[in-house]
């Protein structure tokens, strides 16, 4: 698949979804700072092209597993903006009833097995979903999003091995955003992450994770291979986290771990900016783009109003859902 194959309609659609995620995340940053959220949030700002470009190829019967930075993956695959925001607010109307919060947003009806609080926790789950898709004789696939930091968990190597042996329909999407919490990737990660697949006979490649067209093309190819029995792929999406590891991190860190100048420099190639330029290049009018943006803005505004006005869970709900 080539990035050139994307129609301008598809590009605009993906831009709209990225814009939606950005809107949600920017609002979450604001309400977090205002003390309106019960727990911490890890924002996806600057990485939106990855979730959107990958999920553009997936149906509700395909599975994804995500990370602690999981709002973007959720919103790329499910339309339930209100329920997701309400979950982050800890309300009864949240998609998990307020039990999971930011690090566990999940919409199983849409093939989202959830964000995950354990770094690397999604890798084996997705391998299991891929095994299930395979043994049930479907053409469905499983995608796991994980960070560059998670690439240092041994489970990645165990999953690569077993996925190669069993030709599992598994796509491993590493989001290399330059940092593993407060450590620069190179200080804790040796070699190239994409190349970690090679010894297992699994195709691996680096991708410009900020260009949604590149993500779309690389993911499309990997997903098609997985659907047709060709097995797993490891994609290393090169991106950059524009916000902190976690919101309000400056309040507890004794010193900074990256410069503001670095962040500003990386902002020049941030995914929405690149997608906007691509849209303009494809001849999409400013009017058409503005219309999409306005629609998304309104939907996100409504979702936050809904969440903030939603009731808290009943205390007794704490004791439900341990067993089926």
């Amino acid at each position: 698949m080539s990035p050139r194959e994307i129609t301008s309609e598809k590009l605009l659609q993906m831009y709209g979804r990225m814009f939606r995620i950005r809107q949600v995340e920017e609002r979450l940053a604001t309400v977090q700072a205002a003390g309106e959220l019960p727990g911490p949030v890890h924002l996806y700002i600057g990485e939106e092209a990855i979730a959107v470009g990958v999920c553009a190829h997936l149906s509700d019967q395909d599975w994804i597993c995500s990370t602690h930075r999981g709002h973007g993956h959720f919103l790329a695959k499910s339309d339930e903006i209100q329920k997701m925001v309400a979950e982050v607010y800890g309300r009864a109307t949240g998609v998990c009833g307020g039990k999971g919060g930011s690090m566990h947003v999940a919409d199983v009806s849409k093939g989202i097995l959830g964000a995950n609080g354990i770094v690397g926790g999604g890798i084996a789950l997705a391998a299991g979903a891929a095994l299930s898709a395979q043994t049930r004789g479907t053409r469905n696939v499983a995608v796991v999003f994980f960070g560059d930091g998670a690439a240092n968990q041994g489970v990645l190597f165990e999953a690569l091995n077993i996925a190669a042996l069993w030709r599992l329909p598994l796509i491993l999407v590493c989001e290399n955003n330059g940092y593993s919490e407060f450590s620069p990737t190179a200080s804790v990660t040796s070699g190239e992450i994409w190349n970690r697949a090679t010894p297992f006979g699994v195709p691996g490649r680096p991708v410009d994770g900020n260009d949604v067209r590149e993500v779309w093309a690389a993911a499309g190819e990997a997903i098609e291979r997985a659907r047709s029995g060709g097995g797993a792929t490891l994609l290393e999406m090169r991106t950059y986290r524009l916000r902190g590891h976690v919101e309000a991190e400056k309040s507890f860190l004794s010193r900074s771990y990256r410069s503001d100048a670095e962040v500003e420099q990386r902002r020049e190639r941030e995914p929405l900016r690149l997608a906007m330029a691509a849209l303009q290049g494809a001849g999409v009018t400013a009017d058409a783009i503005a219309k999409v943006e306005e629609k998304e803005r309104a939907a996100v505004r409504a979702a936050f109003e809904y969440a903030a006005e939603s009731p808290w869970p009943a205390p007794g709900a704490a004791f439900e859902h341990m067993f089926a």
């Binding site: 800890g90 690090m103 968990q153």
Partner: protein, 328 residues
């Protein structure tokens, strides 16, 4: 004596011990920046050879701690949130807890594993467990759960001079709490409880994070004319059963408070041991205040319903005190 914060007391203990003992090394994720604050300044002071910022690889970290400790280093392995003990659990359960035993006593394993445990901050189920009972069940692991900065400093120093794997489990989110810390070098022996309040009506044993609400409960109960003997075991392995039984011998009544899930909790173990060794001392059934057998929820409303607080401790005490005529 000076007032210091919990993280500061732990940081001081580690710094002083690393100064004293050149064989101590530190392994952990982001220990150089120390988001928790307890390893702050160590890399500047002792260098990157002794203070190792690790990748997110708990299984190799916890296992390297065993290998390094068996071969001459004294290791601090910082696991950050207690739930990441699980990702590093194989080496803890299969190696650290039993290697010395399996080898007929040929090795010593001086390791201090550190982690923050418990809920109350809306970080949900994968960042809120209190897993000390699971570690207690392993056998070959000591477990330190300080409830004040002064205790923390003395216990960490003792742990860093111990030749066995020790876990330091801090109550998460409570690193900023202040308390008196004695000046100079001191240790608190592992296995020595402290009676935080002296009383005659009911014994309350509170573990780690639960000492604070238990102190509040003592005040409320005192206002109702019930005097509580509040025991803080400080270490759950070894457990100071002599201190607990001596208190129960005076009061005849026991309530145990633990932030772990109730089944097989530290509270269960204490209750069982007191029933076994002190049945004749008891005038009422033993009460347990713990988390019901659910995971920690995210929403603050739900967390509040799950985590024991002073009100629940007061209720549990009244239940065994009122029914037996201690209070009216």
């Amino acid at each position: 004596m000076a007032k210091k914060r919990m993280v500061q007391a732990i940081n001081e203990a580690i710094t002083e011990e690393m100064e004293r003992d050149g064989s101590i090394i530190v392994l952990g994720e982001d220990v150089h920046i120390s988001p928790v604050g307890d390893t702050r300044g160590l890399i500047e002071r002792f260098g990157a050879a002794r203070v190792r910022n690790t990748p997110i690889s708990e299984s190799v970290m916890s296992g390297m701690a065993v290998g390094a400790a068996a071969t001459g280093s004294r290791v601090i392995c910082h696991l950050f949130y207690g739930n990441f003990i699980y990702t590093g659990f194989d080496a803890i359960a299969n190696q650290a807890a039993k290697l010395r035993y399996m080898l007929g006593g040929q090795v010593k394993l001086p390791i201090l594993y550190m982690a923050m445990i418990g809920g109350g901050r809306s970080v949900a189920a994968q960042h809120s467990d209190s897993m000390h009972p699971m570690l207690m069940n392993l056998g070959g692991i000591k477990i330190v759960m300080p409830a004040s900065p002064g205790d923390a400093k003395g216990l960490v120093k003792a742990a860093l001079r111990d030749d066995n794997p020790v876990f330091l489990l801090q109550a998460a989110g409570r690193g900023g709490e202040l308390g008196e810390v004695p000046d100079g070098d001191y240790t608190i022996p592992l296995g020595k409880a402290e009676e935080k309040r002296v009383g005659d009506d009911v014994t309350v044993v509170a573990i780690g994070s639960m000492v604070k609400p238990a102190l509040k409960a003592c005040d409320e109960l005192a206002a109702r004319g019930i005097s509580v003997s509040l025991i803080d075991p400080r270490t759950v392995v070894p457990m100071d059963y002599d201190a607990i039984l001596a208190s129960v011998a005076r009061t005849g009544r026991l309530v145990v408070v633990d932030e772990a899930r109730k089944s097989c909790s530290a509270a269960s173990e204490i209750a069982a041991t007191v029933a076994e060794r002190g049945f004749h001392l008891l005038k009422a059934p033993i009460g347990r205040v713990a988390v019901e057998d659910v995971a920690m929820p995210y929403s603050p409303v739900l967390e509040k319903a799950v985590i024991p607080d002073a009100a629940r401790i007061v209720d549990a005490v009244l239940k065994i005190a009122v029914s037996r005529g201690v209070a009216q």
